[in-house]
Symmetry: C2
Subunit: 526 residues, 2 copies
């Protein structure tokens, strides 16, 4: 029997908070530090490893976090979710993104449909469509092959798919899996669409309109923008556009599109990269087999998140350490730092995933909570970040926990040997060095060159960034955020906080304003 309780109602959380604190600097020094790195590893899907040696936890705290996870019924709640219960209480919806990549538990029948079959069916439709595009069976009006896919979407229809595309673009080129370039239009700022279109051969472009509701202001506006450009180029928009939407949306059965692929209300935008939202563009860009590999990695991570032993369940462990850092140690932000240029936009995706899911002040019953919930998430790839904001991370007055990611091998395989090491070795030497520098610091009589240390980090280590490891990485963080939402007793699957701005913007456009809103609109010349 699942009980949904607030964090402060769980005795095991108080027990975790009462554990003696770890002196991270001392713990990571000498042989004890070496032993921590060897032992404090949790296996992940697709051969990844979560290393938490440089987190301010020890066996006692991990045991306490395990009890906390148990009392919070994280696994029972996860099972309820993947078995189709209405976990999204605000919008009264099931939460089924895991079904897009596997059958974790019972069959979920909703609205008379087997949802797993529905999602795989849509992916099969996409597979067939992509194959026809690649084989030249679906072509432009001049009978020529399409060479570019342009996704029109915002938020979850943009950030996740874009981050995934960038993550695999060079891998695909290197491995012969690159089929079509993909581009993205998201912002309602007309300069976004104008710039993308100016750099696109529209006659050979297929546009993917992505909006679950079919009513997203930015996306519909940009659709018109694109249609204008197509018409001006003497082309028929209906021969250049496909839709990814819900079956009930106004876009679903329109003759305006070559094809429509469906998702549904049980898949939140920020959890939609493994649905048709990511499937269409990634299958066109890299082929449906690559997308299948990506799904397989995510499915493996979903299965790994069912593991009861917290030391073998990286998503749960990562989640509980994050709650410990937020609610016991009091850290307000977390930095995501992939040492991989291919993951340049992965932090932006995680920023949405985490902050939109858990940036909330009421619990799943709409009651205010009395404790901090989701942190601010930010990040850039390393080593770039080292030459930017790491100064504050090392020597600033606040402590920011860090999430590193690193892969032993590069994607492209091209490298140079300078001063006895390759670029890849330099990259990895830097991330290893940073972890120890943050944890251990450095004494110096000159306080300006003194490093306090005690700054916690974890790292996810893999062999190479591939479709499988990317899928595993994506699902790891989705499951981490889900577990944290359970621990905080939040509904991580709605986003009421985005509504007010939309309502007020409509009033501005209708010239139905007064007070500060009227003056601010006037100042901006609207």
């Amino acid at each position: 029997m699942i009980e949904w309780k607030n964090l402060n109602e769980l005795a095991s959380f108080d027990a975790a908070a009462a554990c003696p604190k770890v002196d991270l600097k001392a713990a990571m020094t000498g042989e004890e530090g070496a032993e921590r790195v060897r032992k404090m590893q949790a296996p992940m899907a697709a051969g990844l490893t979560y290393v938490y040696a440089a987190k301010a936890v020890d066996d006692g705290i991990v045991d306490a976090l395990a009890s906390f996870a148990k009392e919070a019924q994280l696994l029972e709640k996860y099972a309820a979710l993947y078995n189709g219960e209405v976990i999204n209480t605000g919008e009264k919806r099931r939460v089924l993104h895991q079904l897009t990549r596997g059958q974790l538990g019972e069959c979920v029948i909703a609205d008379g449909v087997d949802k797993r079959a529905f999602y795989t069916g849509e992916q099969e439709k996409i597979r067939a469509f992509a194959k026809k595009v690649h084989d030249g069976e679906i072509v432009n009006e001049a009978g020529e092959k399409f060479t570019t896919a342009v996704q029109i979407g915002i938020g979850g229809s943009d950030l996740g798919p874009r981050a995934m595309y960038l993550a695999l673009e060079n891998w695909a080129k290197e491995t012969g899996n690159f089929r079509m370039e993909a581009k993205f239009i998201s912002n309602v700022d007309p300069d976004d669409a104008a710039a993308v279109l100016a750099g696109t051969d529209v006659a050979h472009a297929i546009f993917i309109l992505v909006s679950k509701s079919g009513t997203t202001l930015e996306t519909l506006t940009n659709e018109s923008f694109v249609k204008d450009a197509l018409v001006k180029a003497g082309l028929d928009p209906a021969k250049h556009m496909i839709a990814v939407t819900s079956e009930t949306s106004p876009l679903a059965k329109s003759a305006d599109y070559l094809a429509a692929f469906f998702m549904d209300d049980y898949i939140g935008g920020r959890y939609s990269s493994t649905s048709a939202v990511g499937g269409a563009v990634l299958s066109l860009a890299f082929g449906p087999d690559v997308f299948d590999q990506f799904l397989a990695g995510a499915a493996e991570a979903d299965s790994a998140a069912k593991e009861p032993d917290i030391r073998k369940n990286a998503a749960m462990l990562d989640a509980m350490i994050g709650v410990y850092e937020r609610n016991v140690l009091g850290y307000p932000a977390t930095a995501v730092l992939p040492y991989s240029q291919a993951l340049s936009r992965f932090p932006a995706h995680l920023q949405q995933l985490d902050m939109e899911s858990n940036g909330k002040s009421v619990n799943r019953f709409g009651e205010p909570v009395s404790y901090p919930t989701g942190p601010v998430i930010f990040g850039e790839p390393g080593t770039n970040g080292q030459h930017s904001f790491y100064q504050l991370l090392h020597q600033g007055t606040d402590i920011t926990p860090l999430q590193f990611v690193g892969f032993r091998k590069s994607q492209c395989g091209v490298d140079v040997d300078i001063q006895g090491s390759t670029s890849q070795q330099k990259l990895l030497a830097n991330v290893a060095a940073q972890i120890v520098a943050f944890a251990c610091g450095k004494e110096d009589e000159n306080r300006n060159k003194y490093f306090e240390g005690g700054r916690p980090s974890s790292i996810i280590v893999g062999d190479r960034l591939t479709p499988e490891t990317l899928g595993a990485l994506l699902a790891h963080f989705e499951n981490k955020v889900m577990f944290q939402g359970f621990a905080w007793n939040l509904n991580s699957f709605d986003q009421e906080g985005v509504q007010l701005g939309k309502v007020l913007a409509k009033r501005v456009l209708a010239h139905d304003t007064d007070g500060a809103l009227y003056e601010m609109s006037s100042l901006l010349g609207i």
Copy 2:
């Protein structure tokens, strides 16, 4: 006589902290809110306006902040800086980036050289060089024009110039000022250089190697990477590369480069966009006249920062409100939210500028400070961010102050009218709406749809993003960060916090490690 005092030694700061707090929600409601928007505006350079109506301040607090700014001697310290005193106490250096764009005070003679003349002289050299490239006097080995400029640099040699290039790329195309495409290679991750080179016609590319010291690991590694690619393409690297460096660096007089342009130790990387570091790539991309306009905007902002009346000195006012938010209201982070796709990487530049300058725990004398200093800075362009992390900003448990930027007109001038409004109008309606939504919130019996409000923001409003307004925007933030550093009594111009990681990375590459560093390196396969 300048006295360098810690924040907690200034009585006027305590007075500001003791002012009655503003109920922002009440203040921004009704006619009072309208009046605040009309009145709480400070003029900026290049026709920009800083609007602080939605900040949690009132006349009493602004008066107190004015006294605080006076007691902290912000203007005297600024004058000392631009007149050439050794403000960078850690590295014992002058701080002269303002001289790259104007003569604010006395002539600064350093090392026997008039530094203003030195910086303008380098810009004249760049002007002549760029003109020859554009006119086809400097060409590749086949006698053909160069079409692409590729900047190789990291940190300040990358983030600022890249953000400025992206900010002006579409404007330049629209106004006939686009001369050459620019690309950027920064990360030591070999996949960065490999991907950029794979998309570049190297035979027609000119590479700009940017490193003040001439010893930056990432940059030298990427230089080798590029040289390899040029040699493999049968080209002579010396005919394709220029250097931007200091006169004393190993790169300065090398026959490996077509030309070398100089900066010096008085210009920190994160303040170098208006020096040769930004000058070479921007002059090649858009022509030296455009770069001059950019410098003119920055110079105008520098002059505006000399204004004694805080209500007419936007940089000072912005800075003091930021200190008030950090040290009185206790907010740990600030979000930068430009409603302009062209400013997509401007937040990443500000992240470095702010966090590397003021993310410090010791004062300018190397003594620990007892108060919080620089906040975490993050951001993405609007409206994209609205569909991502704004959920947390509106309804999260922590309050994050917001810095909006908006322009009345788009850059490209292409637009569509949908549902009675253009994309540009929708963009602006959204930013106006957000400011009021964050400040005023919304009552709702359903607590999940309830917005607490009281979340402070400011907005910088301009007519259009042009070289002048971009320069003014850049310098505004440089001066804001400088004033905040003075208020916190920091040295905002060194970055000792980046050193430890470099030292440890070298030890990893030399296989001179033990303990946790050895184990972490092994795990990563180094």
